[in-house]
C-alpha cells in the first residue's frame, strides 16, 4: 500500500516541468529520447527534400532544375544530413527511451550530459545548413569529402562544415559514453549481460564502436582544417603528404560507422519478430556473438571502399577476404530471424510488416554488398549506381524501416495511445513499394555503366532513372503520411494497455502506457 502511495507522491512532486523550458533543461531520458526522435524526423524530412531535388533533376537527361555545382551541394548535404541527422539521432533517441526501461534503471547514468548531447545537435545542423547561404555555397565534395577536392579546391564554407562535424562527433561520443556507463553499471539485479535484451546489447556494441571511431573522424577533419588553414600537408603530395592517406583514415572511421548505423536495427528487429511470432527469439546467444563478430571485423575491412586507388595486390586480397567474412555472422542473424518466425504464431501488425520487410530487403542489400566485395567485379561496380543501390537498400529499407518499425512498436508505450492500424499499413505499403521502385532499378543503371554523383547522364540510362525518380517521389511523399500518423497518435487514439502487444517481452511492457515520467526508481525484481 505504502509503496503505491509513495510512487504517486513521487509523480506528483517530480513530474515534468511546465512550459517550453521543460524541453530545454530536461534531464529525463524519456524527454531526451523524444527530443532526439523529433529532431531526427525533422532532419529526415530536410534530407528527404534534398533527395527530391536530386531525383527531380535525374528524372530526365539534361539539366532542368539545378546547376551542377548546386547539385553537388545537394548530394553532399543529403548524405551528411541523413547519416548524422537522420539515422544516428533516431537510434540515440530510441536508446534513450528504451535502455533504462529495458534494464530496470531509473534513467541514464549521466542525465545532464545527456541533455547537452542532444542540444548541441540542432546547433551543429544549423551551422551546416546555413552553409547553403554562404559565399561559394555549401560543401560540394560528397559526404565522404576526399582530399584534395575538400581541402585545396573546397568552398570557404568548408571550415564551418568541419566545425559542424566536430560538434556532431562530440554529441555521439558523449551519448555513447552515457550508454556504456548506464548498461555496464545500472542493470537491475538479476540482469546479467547474457540476459540483457538484444536491443540493449546492440547499443552496447554500437556505443563502443562510436567511442572508438568518432575521434578518428575528428582527427581526419582536424587534419583537413590544418591543411586548409595552417599550411600542413597531410593530404597534399607537394608537401610530402598523400591523398590516399585521407581515404585510409576516413574509411577507418567510415566502415565501423555503417555498422553503427545497422546494429541497433538488428536489435529492434529481433524484438519485434519475437513479439509478433509469439515465439522466443531463436539462438539468443548466437545473435549476441554475431553482433560482436560483426563489430570486431568491421575494423579490418575499411579498404574495400578503396579498391581502385592503386592498393598493392596483397592488400586487395586481404581486404576482399576479410570483407566476405563479415557476410557469415550477418547471414547467421538472418537465418535466426527466419527460424524465429518458423512455426510461430505470426500476426502482421504494422511493426511486423516493417520488420519482415527489413529482413528481406536488408538481405538483398547485403547480398549486393557481397558482390561488391569481389575485387575484379568491383572494378566495374565501384563509384556507379550499383553502389548507390547497395547502400540505399541497407540504409533505407534497412536502418530507416527498423526505425519506423520501432516507432510503431513502442509509440503506444510512449504516448499511451494506439496508432491507427489501417493508416500504418497504408504507410507501410506505400513505403515498401516506393523504396523498391526507387532503388531496385539503380542496380540496373549501375551495372549498365552510370557513375554516381552525376547530375546528368547518357541516354541509355533514361528509362530506369525515370522509374527511380517516380519511386522516390512516392516514397518521399508517403513520409508525410507517417508524420500525420505520429502526430495523430500523440494527440489521441485508442488507449493502450501496459502490455500493448500480446507476445511482447521485456521490462518496458511491465509499466503502464504511457510510461510514467519516472520508472524503476526502485529496481524491479527480475528472476
Amino acid at each position: 500500500m505504502s509503496a503505491v502511495i509513495e510512487n504517486h507522491h513521487d509523480d506528483h512532486h517530480h513530474g515534468p516541468a511546465k512550459g517550453l523550458t521543460r524541453w530545454l533543461y530536461t534531464t529525463n531520458h524519456k524527454d531526451i529520447g523524444t527530443l532526439y526522435l523529433w529532431f531526427s524526423f525533422a532532419m529526415f524530412l530536410v534530407g528527404g527534400a534534398m533527395a527530391m531535388i536530386i531525383r527531380a533533376e535525374l528524372f530526365q537527361p539534361g539539366m532542368q532544375i539545378v546547376e551542377p555545382e548546386f547539385y553537388n551541394q545537394m548530394i553532399t548535404l543529403h548524405g551528411l544530413i541523413m547519416i548524422f541527422g537522420g539515422v544516428m539521432p533516431a537510434f540515440v533517441g530510441l536508446a534513450n527511451w528504451l535502455i533504462p526501461m529495458q534494464i530496470g534503471a531509473p534513467d541514464m547514468a549521466l542525465p545532464r550530459m545527456n541533455n547537452l548531447s542532444f542540444w548541441i545537435l540542432p546547433f551543429a545542423f544549423f551551422i551546416l545548413l546555413s552553409s547553403l547561404f554562404m559565399e561559394g555555397g555549401a560543401p560540394n565534395f560528397g559526404w565522404t569529402f576526399y582530399a584534395p577536392l575538400s581541402t585545396e579546391y573546397a568552398p570557404p564554407s568548408t571550415t564551418f562544415f568541419i566545425f559542424s562535424v566536430h560538434i556532431m562527433g562530440a554529441s555521439s561520443i558523449m551519448g555513447s559514453i552515457n550508454v556504456v556507463v548506464t548498461i555496464m553499471n545500472m542493470r537491475a539485479p538479476g540482469i546479467s549481460l547474457m540476459k540483457m535484451p538484444l536491443f540493449v546489447w546492440s547499443w552496447l556494441i554500437t556505443a563502443y564502436l562510436l567511442i572508438a571511431v568518432m575521434p578518428v573522424l575528428a582527427g581526419a577533419v582536424t587534419m583537413m582544417l590544418m591543411d586548409i588553414h595552417f599550411g600542413t600537408s597531410f593530404f597534399n603530395a607537394a608537401g610530402g603528404g598523400d591523398p590516399v592517406l585521407f581515404q585510409h583514415i576516413f574509411w577507418f572511421f567510415g566502415h565501423p560507422e555503417v555498422y553503427i548505423m545497422i546494429l541497433p536495427a538488428f536489435g529492434i528487429v529481433s524484438h519485434i519478430i519475437e513479439t509478433f511470432s509469439r515465439k522466443q527469439l531463436f539462438g539468443h546467444s548466437s545473435m549476441v556473438w554475431a553482433m560482436l563478430s560483426i563489430a570486431i571485423l568491421s575494423f579490418v575491412v575499411w579498404a574495400h571502399h578503396m579498391f581502385t586507388v592503386g592498393l598493392p595486390l596483397a592488400a586487395e586480397i586481404f581486404f576482399m577476404w576479410a570483407t566476405m567474412l563479415i557476410a557469415v555472422p550477418t547471414g547467421v542473424k538472418v537465418f535466426n530471424w527466419v527460424a524465429t518466425m518458423f512455426r510461430g504464431s505470426i500476426s502482421f501488425e504494422t511493426p511486423m510488416l516493417f520488420a519482415v520487410a527489413f529482413v528481406v530487403l536488408f538481405t538483398i542489400g547485403g547480398l549486393s554488398g557481397l558482390m561488391l566485395a569481389i575485387v575484379p567485379a568491383d572494378f566495374q561496380y565501384h563509384d556507379t549506381y550499383f553502389v548507390v543501390a547497395h547502400f540505399h537498400y541497407v540504409l533505407v529499407p534497412g536502418a530507416i524501416f527498423s526505425i519506423m518499425a520501432a516507432v510503431y512498436y513502442w509509440i503506444p508505450k510512449w504516448t499511451g495511445n494506439m496508432y491507427d492500424e489501417r493508416l500504418g499499413r497504408l504507410h507501410f505499403w506505400l513505403s515498401f513499394i516506393g523504396v523498391n521502385v526507387t532503388f531496385f532499378p539503380q542496380h540496373f543503371i549501375g551495372l549498365a555503366g552510370m557513375p554516381r554523383r552525376y547530375p546528368d547522364y547518357a541516354l541509355q540510362f533514361a528509362d530506369w532513372n525515370m522509374v527511380s525518380s517516380v519511386g522516390a517521389f512516392l516514397f518521399g511523399f508517403s513520409q508525410l503520411l507517417f508524420l500525420f500518423i505520429v502526430l495523430k497518435t500523440v494527440m489521441g487514439g485508442k488507449k493502450a494497455t501496459g502490455q500493448v502487444w500480446e507476445g511482447a517481452k521485456g521490462l518496458e511492457w511491465s509499466v503502464a502506457s504511457p510510461a510514467p515520467y519516472h520508472t524503476f526508481s526502485t529496481p524491479p525484481k527480475v528472476d
Binding site: 549521466l110 553499471n185 607537394a238
Partner: protein, 186 residues
Amino acid sequence: MNKGAKKTLTKLIIAVPLMFAFGFALVPLYDVFCEALGINGKPSSKPEQSDEFVIDNGRPIALQFISTNNKNMPWTFEPSEQVMKIETGKYHTATFYVKNTTNRKMVAQAVPSVAPSNAAAHLKKLECFCFEQQELMPGEDALLPVKLLVSNDLPSNIKNVILSYTIFDITDYNDEAMAHHEMGME
C-alpha cells in the same frame, strides 16, 4: 553515481583522446606498415646510399619516365629521354628539363611515384631533384638530374619500371615558411 560507474566513465573518457591520437598516429603508421609488410609503393624522398646493391651482372630492364604538372604549375617539364634501357645493380643518371615560363620567381617541389608499386622499394635514388625545392627565376631553365639504381632483387616478373614526377608550385608555402623562420629568429 556508484563506484563502478565512475570507473567505467573514467576509462571511457580516457579512451576518447587516445583514439583521437590514434587517428593522428595513423599518419606515420601508414608509412611504417607499408614498409614493414613490404608493400611500400611509395618511393623514398631521401637519398639512399646503396653501394651494397651495386653488382656486375644485373639484368636488363626498361625505365620509363613520366612528367606531370600540377594545377597552376605552368613550367615546361619533360624528361630528356622517355625510356632508358638500363641494367639492375648499376647507377644511371637521367635528366629532366624544366623552364619557368612565367613572370615571377617560383619555387617547385617534385614528387616521385613509382609503378608497379612493388618496384618502389627497389628503386634507390642517390641524388634527385625531388629531394630539394627547385627555385627558378622568370624565364630561367635547367636540366635536373636524378642518379638512381634499380637493385637486382627486383621481382623477376617486372621488366619495366615507371618513374613519375609531378611538380607542384610551392612558392607560397615557401614564402610563409620563410616568414615564420624570420619571425622565429627575432
